[in-house]
Amino acid sequence: MTEPLLQVTGLNRCFGAIQASRDLSFGIVAGEIHALIGPNGAGKTTAINQLTGEIEPDSGSIVFDGRDITRLPVHKRALMGLARSFQITAVFEHLTIEENLALAVQAHMGHSYRFWARADRDLRLTRPTRDTLRLVGLEERASAPASSLSHGEKRQLEVGMALAGQPKLLLLDEPMAGMGPGGTVELSNLIGELKGRITMLLVEHDMDVVFSLADRITVLVYGEAVATGTPEQIRANPLVRQAYLGEEHD
């Protein structure tokens, strides 16, 4: 078996009396879409936040692309190719859509201590920005402020920003949250298109989306990974059914 792109080992994290991650271990293989599912409060977002570095684990290790990143600050992980989208839409509302994406491009072009040249006439920024605009289908709205977008469009922009840096691993934290059926289809198509090109960790409530897109699924219950497998294996797993039906273990 090949070395996983991301390997999480024995992650623990408590918030007071609540153990949000409990000896959490799983690996993501390059090229796959790996879904992380679990009932509400299972610690999915806590897990993502530990991967991105916003929360430090109490113990355990995270190895990404052959390097131990457990204690690395957020921005350094991002520059290594670990991109994320947020559960609650986090775009720069007062900037234009183009500027939003250009910032994401700019982040991966070395330092930004450039005080004089106009950013909007910098071809090294605008060209890749245009490409991403096209990819997420927001080309015609490029110069509108992000605040003018609908919720669904903001989610698309959000994913676009995560993609603009050509990440090695994309963490999608409930990309479908709050979207109408039309938007869900559009975004699933986008994720489907990217499949194989970019490795993804998908946290999602919409089980149809998860089971149609994911190559492998890890199930979290009370902060612990209780099962990992293909969609078929997960569907058949009794532990998973218990967790989702809310039954207690005997």
Binding site: A78, Q106, F115
Partner: protein, 318 residues
């Protein structure tokens, strides 16, 4: 409209001299200097989203650099003799850059600590640092302490007689125009974009891969340098520096100029400085309690023109 404004400002001294209102030239020099410090505050406040209530500290430091250098020049006593002899000077080509440099240095130190916090804590810590410097300047007995320090003359610049109020006015106007242009380039550069991204959502910026703290610190330092330049000019304009330049109420006044004019715009703070200082001047003619009238006016503007006077005039969003 901007062009008209500039023409009006250029034509102001001859017009005022013709009317015999020479006092207004020096009033407007003061206004332009406050416009400069307000624009510098807007770089961190309006563009960077850092609400600092200590900006006058850098303004005061700039003033004191000019004052102290002039004092030592007049007394013909070096400022310090180790590790090298440092004489006082009244040469504007030295004092103005030095004022910027020293203010920038203090901004770097203060920013280094303050920027580890955000929101209300940031407001309080910048305020605390500024008050520390205020009391420090009060304790400077050698330089007049509480009473401040008088300059014997304005600084010298080659080719310009700064003692002449008209020339001094044009110097202030020239510096303000240059500063506005530099700021315009700055906010539209890559760096400017990063700063605005941080204002919008710092967490998102980190997730994109930006070391946001460092960018904020650089922005804070640049703004401090701008305030120091304005402080150096005000010291020359009034030929006097005092701890009052750094008092937190001064920081508040500069903040009000930015809010009044429209934060997140470059010309808003200029407009804010003009309107606030003129109102002060005019209202003071009628009553010594002019604050009573100014207060409600500010409340109305802040409530009904969320984008400030500049937004009201142009209908443009920041």
């Amino acid at each position: 409209m901007l062009g008209m404004g500039l023409v009006a400002l250029v034509a102001l001294p001859p017009a005022m001299n013709a009317l015999g209102e020479t006092y207004l030239v020096s009033l407007f020099s003061r206004i332009l200097i406050y416009a400069l410090v307000a624009v510098s505050l807007d770089l961190i406040l309006g563009y960077g989203g850092m609400v600092s209530l200590g900006h006058a500290a850098f303004f005061g430091i700039g003033g004191y650099v000019v004052g102290i250098l002039a004092f030592h020049s007049y007394e013909a006593e070096p400022l310090f003799t180790w590790p090298f002899i440092f004489e006082g000077t009244e040469n504007g080509l030295l004092t103005l850059p030095l004022a910027m440099l020293v203010s920038a240095f203090f901004a770097l130190i203060i920013g280094f600590f303050s920027l580890r916090t955000t929101g209300m804590h940031f407001i309080m810590i910048t305020l605390a640092f500024a008050q520390m410097l205020y009391y420090f300047s009060v304790s400077l007995e050698a330089y007049g302490g509480d009473d401040g320090l008088s300059l014997y003359a304005r600084n010298q610049l080659p080719g310009i007689n700064l003692g002449d109020d008209d020339s001094f006015y044009y110097l202030c106007l020239g510096i303000l125009v240059i500063y506005l242009y530099v700021s315009h380039r700055l906010v539209n550069s890559r760096f400017g974009r990063v700063i605005q991204g941080v204002r919008e959502n710092e967490r998102r910026m980190q997730a994109l891969g930006f070391a946001t703290y460092r960018y904020k610190l650089v922005c804070f330092t640049i703004a401090g340098a701008g305030a120091g330049l304005a402080g150096a000019l005000i010291a020359n304009q009034t030929e006097f520096v005092s701890p009052g330049l750094m008092h937190w109420t001064r920081s508040g006044e500069i903040l009000v100029m930015v809010l009044l004019g429209g934060m997140g715009t470059l010309f808003g703070p200029v407009l804010g400085a003009i309107v606030l200082l003129l109102l002060e001047e005019v209202l003071a003619i009628y009553t010594e309690h002019w604050m009573v009238l100014l207060g409600p006016f500010l409340v109305v503007v802040v409530l009904f023109a969320k984008r400030g006077l500049y937004g009201l005039l142009t209908g443009r969003k920041p």
